[in-house]
Amino acid sequence: MDFLIFKAPMLMVQASLDGILLGILFALIAYGMALQWGVMNIINIAQGDLVILGGYIAYTIYLWGIHPAWGVIISPIIMFFVGWALYKLVINKVVDRDLFISILATFGIAIVFQQLMNFIFGADVVVAQSEYGTTMLFDNSVTLPNSKIFSAFISVLYAIALVIYMKKSRLGRAIRATAQNARAAKILGVDTEKVYAATFGINAALCGIAGALISITLTLHPYVGLPYTVRSFMIVIVAGLGNLPAVAVSGMGLGLFEEFADYILGTEFRIGAVFMLLVFILVYRRFKLSKKREYLK
């Protein structure tokens, strides 16, 4: 019974594909986090809760009889404004402060969001049905829900669109300039306040897309945001800020790692394994940094 995965090669294929598809979705959330972390130096603990809120928006339109896949367009639009408003209300007060303050502030936002969602949408677990069916490979021994394939595809699509936008558009360039040196950007006429608000909005919109995809692939509940925050935090830690290809690779890597940890260590250690990996990577990075020669500033 031990290490079933090594006895059945098809399981290996199944686990890898499941992991990669899931990982792409994580990467999308992580990319949003990396973006606003890089630009504003804020670690957003409420990231996962923004994702879940996005999911509930998709679920709501599903209840109205619209196919939940439209959520990947509607949800980010609404979430952009939610993010914008959040910035204007709370984040702009903590943006130049200590990292710790921003963590506290976003933690507070996370709690408020959870309670609000619980209040509005109820504590029941909900799912939206996409009715996309299943792709069967290798004589039905590997099955992939089309909803997962769809979600990976949409994630990639949006990620590419965002990269192009950041490279070509005026706002994108302003965001990148602010990330590199906020003061210099300000001197050169970039309205950094607006850039920050837009960045936070874009991050929330990315969460909205991911949430809509989660509503058709997994399940929604007001209190399941935190694991998404932790996963995206971890992906960003591994990949570094502002490095999209690395975020994608590390997202898929994490998805794979989770699936394989499930088979080898057991399902009960699946999330534990993610945390272990996080600790390991943090220690390793610290070790590597200490080897580098540093100067007093």
Partner: protein, 413 residues
Amino acid sequence: MNKIAKLFVTFISAITLALVSFTSSFAKVEGEYIVLGSAISLTGKYSSNGVHTQNGYNMAVERINKMGGVEVQGKKYKFEIIYYDDESNPKRAAQLAERLIKQDGVHYMLGPYSSGLTKAIAPVTEKYKIPMVEANGASRSLFTKGYKYLFAVLSPANQYLEVAIDLAVEKNGGKGVKIAQAFEQDAFSQDVRLGILDAAKRTGSEIIIDDKLPKELNDMAATLAKVKATKPDVLVVSGHTKGALTAIRQISEMKVDVPMLAMTHCDAAKLSKQHGKKSEFALCASQWHKNLSYKDKFFGSGKKYAKDFQKEFGYDPPYQSAESSAALLVFKDAFERANSFDRDAVRDALVDTEMQTFYGNIKFGPGGQNVAKPMILFQVRCKGDDCENRVVAPTKWASDKFYHPIPKWSERS
């Protein structure tokens, strides 16, 4: 100015103290009211089931009061409940229990929702020797601690799915079966798991997959891939509503063929409402179903209860509501037999409870659990997209034959 303020504060605190001592000495029975206390989850993650519980309590209070109330020493009394919102938080629940007992002077408690919260409150009620009748904490560990003041109207968690294993063995011609199981890591689900382990041992069955799902998990793809590869006879899943919904979603999407699928929390999950036809043939453990033939003079039958409940609250009663209503019937019965408001007399009367309610027979075992009522299993069956729960076991109440094995996904439309 300062002196006046001080005087004022002293005055206010004196009044408060007087009020507190006044209320606590009389609050257990105020005038014609017997006051019960309950911490209940009206917000937080258990809020929907907390509301089901509260509705069940309220329905019974109203009905009992309307039908003459409780007669003690020749005088009629009515029930009244003080509720506090425990925010689905065990620590808060324990504080509120303390507050109900010490400040509000409550001498009889009704349970909260969920095993975890009941576990948090039980030590408090035990400490103050307050009889508590609870209807929503099924975890086995509640009944092994030697609590003397805890009484549960429901069957303990380890009995939830034992029947399902027996059924599978019966279908297999009395031979042991191969079981795959996935349980969330919480007190309740792990107790259900212990029940399966016992049943497996008893029937000579073999457990080939034994996954423990982390609380945060909403993806069971890996477990189901293992199930697909090992082809068990029964798949057992228990992880509250989230587990049930995730399992159905992914089993249908991954086209996992198992001859039998047994779960908990399918009633509350409104499984068939969320997933429609995909949930067909799932077996669900339940404490109660409206079609059972138990009767009492307050609610009549289960069907009548369901009808009245629907009229009052606008939805079909889940078993959480039914068992909560039953808790009050138990209290009424105990008060009348004790014929006294002495806590220990009421507690002794509770120990001797032996009665039938619309919800089922109630008789408490030595640990406080209900030993007189079997668990039932129903199976989700659909006509078109319209699905309902049909009782299939135990045979005494079965309205339908148990459909076995579940047809393969390739044969299902």
